[in-house]
Symmetry: C2
């Protein structure tokens, strides 16, 4: 038998004992913290039917997914924990109590080119609250409270949870006549941190044929400075012009109020109108948490 | 887009919240218990190079392994946690402190036909002590101590840890002139619990051409009744005839002595000369733990 050189695939992490111990402590802290807030653990298979995992997939997912056959089964490794969650809830809806609060810490697989900070196998640690009808907006405010508590338990101090509401953005875009381009505009402004305002303006005008003055208005709107209270005051100037906007503003104001009463200090939490999140399935409140000492890490 | 029926693959476990909470508690207990004895956590990738995973594989492994290609990589999902451990130790030998004591709780994958009690994805919870030369026999006695402590912490009472030593068996087989058939005889007597002594005798004589009187001697030897002390006294009758046997007897006696001094009560621990373990890589002490209330579960 030929000698096999022992090696670990690139993009797959394998830690030495000291680092693995730290990793275990982080995961134990996450589990404890999530459980304190009444989130129940969930574990789903790493392998699923390819048709289940790719049901909502776009081209990117399809390219990066590990897919293979065994016998006559078309199988794939999970790409995230969201699609398996959707399947789990659909499958067990009759046996679950809603709102269903779950956390899941598990490995996900992406067959992309390994690069700095990108892995092919990595852990996601998700929390979700799933209703069987309308969920009270208070639930949206709980997520930042859990994030705040968890980061504190991990000994992290310098972080900021940024919140926005897609209805506020969609409503404002409607006022500018951008409803049809709304998704493209969202995905573009979401890159503001990475590519800067000039590039965002260029993409909007050149790629998506947004009028220059309209692009300026978008940038001015999302870049308004100040505290969360300042931004809410700014947003109220647009009240009464668009139903979606008004609903979003009400939700955003409610979340900000609850988050404060849940004990999250103002220095760890702010409205940031530039947060849009690329994916279409986000409809209301969206978050992003950044380490203020380490902006290079991106959102966590 | 066609409607996709949400389903989970057969042989892949997915628990409802209450059961998943119990599962998490079991895993937390295992981690705590293993850590108390100085075992360090290890995590290795689920996906490895197929050549690494199959380096030592026989036909069975090859058939059951999930293997696929991505780009020009020949990949496979881990079949157990032992081969990845061997790779990890080979790769990081210079950075580890020996004896290297590790535990690993992780999912493994076997593409076999799903049947009662058999899963395609399931957790293994392994502990290992790896030396960089000769390991003191005391380490062998620690394993039952960890098993005893862990089962107690899990609230399990009625279990028995059975121990044997392959050198004792190999030495005795040599005395019977069975050295060349040693592996086959081992694998056959290992099935004693499942198929009974008559079937074992038939397999030995019919399939492996063992003389009937020799087969009887093998069965008589492994079936000797009594306490661990009785069995050690029985084994001492064969002392001085075969070097391997003598070494094995010394190891077995030492393990029994240490296990007692490590606080494992006699009712939870016994020598069982029928334990052989099928795989060739077992050389000395071998164990098997059974739930005495639930013999149908098999070894755990």
């Amino acid at each position: 038998m030929a000698q096999i050189r022992p090696h670990t695939l690139s993009g797959f992490m394998e830690l030495l004992p000291e680092d693995q111990k730290k990793m275990q402590r982080v995961m134990a802290t996450l589990r404890e913290s999530y459980a304190l807030y009444g989130f129940t653990p969930l574990d789903t298979p790493v392998i699923e039917s390819a048709d289940v995992l790719l049901a909502k997939g776009g081209g990117e997912t399809e390219k990066q997914i590990y897919r293979f056959t065994k016998g006559d089964s078309d199988l794939a490794l999970r790409f995230d924990l969201t699609v398996p969650l959707a399947k789990y809830v659909a499958l067990h809806a009759n046996e679950l109590t809603f709102p269903f609060r779950r956390y899941q810490i598990g490995k996900v697989y992406r067959g992309e080119r390994a690069q700095r900070g990108r892995f092919r196998e990595f852990y996601q640690a998700d929390i979700d609250i799933i209703g069987d009808g309308k969920l009270d907006i208070m639930n949206e405010a709980e997520i930042p409270a859990v994030i705040y508590r968890t980061f504190n338990a991990l000994g992290l101090k310098n972080f900021r949870i940024r919140v926005n509401n897609r209805k506020v953005l969609n409503g404002f875009f409607a006022l500018l006549g951008l409803t049809e381009k709304s998704g493209d505009v969202m995905r573009t402004i979401d890159k503001l941190d990475k590519i800067g305002p000039d590039k965002v303006r260029a993409v909007l005008t050149d790629e998506f044929a947004v009028e220059p003055e309209t692009a300026d208005k978008v940038l001015e709107f999302i870049s308004v400075p100040g505290t969360s209270a300042d931004k809410l005051a700014f947003l109220r100037r647009y009240e009464g012009k668009n139903e979606t906007f008004d609903l979003g503003l009400h939700e955003l104001a409610t979340v900000v109020e609850y988050v404060g009463s849940f004990g999250v200090p103002a220095e760890n939490f702010e409205i940031d109108l530039t947060i849009a999140r690329g994916l279409d399935y986000y409809t209301g409140t969206v978050y992003e948490t950044v380490m203020t000492d380490h902006p290079e890490i991106g959102s966590v």
